[in-house]
Amino acid sequence: MEQTPVTEYKIPERNFLNETKGIKSWLLTLDHKRIGILYLISVMSAFFAGGIFALLIRLELISPAKEFLTADGYNQVFTLHGAIMIFMFIIPSIPAAFGNFVMPLMIGAKDVAFPRLNLASWYIYLIGAGFALYAIFSGGIDTGWTFYTPYSTSTSTAVIPMTFGVFVMGFSSIFTGLNFVVTIHKLRAPGMTWFKMPLFVWGIYATALIQVLATPVLGITLALLIVERFAGIGIFDPAMGGDPVLFQHFFWFYSHPAVYIMILPGMAIISELIAAFSHRHIFGYKFIAFSSLGIAFTGFLVWGHHMFVAGQSDLAAVIFSFITFFVGIPSGIKIFNWITTMYKGSISLKAPMLWAIAFLLEFSIGGFTGVVLGTLSIDVHLHDTYFVVAHFHYVMVGGTVMALFGGLHYWWPKIWGRMYNETLAAIAAVLVFIGFNVTFFVQFIMGSQGMPRRYYTYLPQFEGMHGFSSIGSLIMAVGFFLIGGYLIYAIFKGKPSGPNPWKALTMEWETTSPPPTGNFDVTPQLRHGPYDYDKVVAKNVVPEYMHEH
């Protein structure tokens, strides 16, 4: 086992958590770290709510008969699960919470470029979430998170408040993206050139570009949907002379790039975790950095692969399939570079690394099944079945959520200055890993046998697999509740962690934990690259901040 000298750390007397006190000092804060925490609380609340809806879905589907939900109730629950998880949890999760907290620290900045805009983005997110809540309590919504017309223009549920909420939350996303682009361009510490930036910053940068460029299209689409329902102007509804397939084009023009808003920050965290816990210079730095930009760019050109059976032209289908395969390549490059980084490393299997390994395994499966779905002839069979559900969850939960929890465990001591219980953390990571795979792997099999998605009831031949999947979701839930428990406990009772518990080299570890309000007591100078473990660790030129006090 690892032998770290026993040192007693103390929480620094002055830090951003205790500098000012009272609820007002939090609600009016301009400190990116506090805003990051506000976002963290918000997105985790959304994750909790969306997770409860997920459990309701899985419990209802234990058997084909009615358990406790009616068909209408079930349709509302799966819609809310999707809408909350996508728009209120996973899109803002890593960029708004960790991007805010960590990114300025990583580039040695005092704050983001526009602190007021940053706070405004959080309030806008809350306003959007308020409309979504209003929608839930004023009739709910049963369209699926995709709001497909003409169903969404004809249903009697609260489509307008919900889409308006999502419309408003889009501005929050744009503000965050804009802020990060400017921050990364203008506020890097002296000496930090583009290729000295940690890969997390590259990932956040690529994400921010998509947020700024793609989100307006979602805004326009939802605005048109609202205008159609409100004013009866035919845009998407054929009854009024509109075209429902046009809605699908508009919707996916945003929502496919949005998938990369969801996964790129996850990949960005994984780059940090693999390097820090292998104590090795990341392999293929530039390839990983540029593959993020490559994914961000190509991601704009593949939306039609959601519509292979929607009635678009064959030529369009062929072109979209072709470009879709191109997105696979940069993702593959990342995976291979990460694994090669581990080769001959000095690998520490602390909790964040366990999540990173879970990511590598699960995201790979998500990627391979993405190739299956990108293949034209096969997608015809698998489209809108559980195969798609499984693929999406392998990418989003197996990918992004694993990375998110890896990041949460990695930066938790930086945020609070205290360490959680490592044993419980390892148990929870294993529980979630097992629960996740039990839940979703059988869904690939169900889908390939023709089980359609969004079904309240199903044919008896699928009962065994649905039951198995439901059991997995309960295992996963136990794991997540455990994590919530020990992380919150650690905030109050955890052992002080010291500035750099992982002996990592990116700049956020050079300041105290928790950091002071201005991030660094002196303007940080770039003394080494973010992954120069061979120079710093091996030659024993241990920098001052890595000395044990």
């Binding site: 690892e2 349709n75 090795r280 059976v309 001959k344 000095s346 190739v371 809108d384 079945t385 044919l459």
Partner: protein, 299 residues
């Protein structure tokens, strides 16, 4: 056709299994083999290897292009409809499928086709988007309200095959099922000739009872008095109903007939006006049969 698509699926599956094994084994092996044991200062010099980067860019690229081209070939085959194909009109609506045969009968929930003959489906929807999916034939196509979409298949085995709706369409989405019944060619011919009206030895009431299931009335109307999407058929004949307009009527044969052909005309209060019109789907003899059946459901 399904065989060709499955071959490609199997190819990708095995390629993925091999690649995943490489990823998983090396990840887990490295994590164990290079685990840190106390020696915090151990690390490995940084190396770059352009050759390696190019290798793991090019090999997946070639593999993906093979899959891409293979995928298009089969996809286009799915979309090029043989000229001699028999055309059947498919209509999707909340929440059942109906099929009309050229100069022939129409069916609900059951697509009856001859074996070894190409069948072209010309599809449209009466309301929202549905999707026509027969997993055994590996075909799926969205069914839209404002245009026709087309797909085709040729069944090579007789038997019954499951049909699903795979585009979310509301409350009854998961019950918008159907069957594709593939008959030997001579039996299909016989069926076409004798497909409407009561069978030999069947009373009108029994015929109506069979239509109650076949024409999907059962999806929304109960026969045991319980409330569903629509009013129950139990004791319906002769019952007084209050309409949305406030008017009270007594259910008779003409009200039943009107409600089948033009359901929006007189909607009973407390129910949504969601029933699709069966004009053109129910023939005269079918309506007679259904009315006879409803009459038999006395309280």
């Amino acid at each position: 056709m399904s065989g060709r698509i499955d071959n490609l699926f199997d190819f990708i599956l095995w390629a993925s299994v091999i690649l995943f094994a490489i990823v998983a084994i090396s990840t887990i092996y490295f994590a164990i083999r290079y685990r840190r044991h106390g020696d915090i200062a151990r690390t490995t010099p940084y190396i770059e290897n352009l050759g390696l980067e190019i290798t793991w860019t090019i090999i997946p690229f070639i593999l993906l292009m093979v899959i891409f081209v293979w995928g298009i070939r089969d996809f286009l085959r799915l979309h090029i409809i043989p000229a001699q194909a028999t055309e059947i009109k498919v209509t999707g609506q909340k929440w059942f499928w109906s099929f009309s045969y050229l100069d022939g009968p129409s069916t609900v929930g059951e697509l009856i086709v001859p074996v070894n003959k190409p069948i072209k489906l010309l599809m449209s929807s009466q309301d929202v988007i549905h999707s026509f999916y027969v997993p055994d034939f590996r075909i799926k196509m969205d069914v839209l309200p404002n245009r026709y979409t087309v797909t085709w298949f040729e069944a090579v085995h007789t038997g019954e095959f499951q049909l699903y709706c795979t585009e979310f369409c509301g409350k009854g989405h998961s019950e918008m099922l159907g069957k594709v019944k593939v008959l030997p060619q001579d039996e299909f011919k016989k069926w076409l000739e004798t497909s409407s009206g009561p069978q030999e030895g069947q009373t009108l009431e029994e015929y109506g009872a069979s239509l109650f299931v076949k024409k999907a009335c059962v999806t929304c109307h109960s026969t045991d008095g319980s409330k569903n999407v629509g009013p129950t058929f139990l004791g319906l004949m002769g019952r007084s109903e209050v309409l949305k307009s406030g008017q009270t009527i007594v259910v008779d044969e003409n009200y039943l007939r009107e409600s089948m052909l033009n359901p929006m005309a007189k909607v009973v209060v407390g129910y949504d006006p969601v029933m699709p019109p069966f004009q053109g789907i129910l023939k005269s003899v079918d309506i007679d049969g259904l009315i006879a059946y409803i009459k038999s459901l006395e309280k």
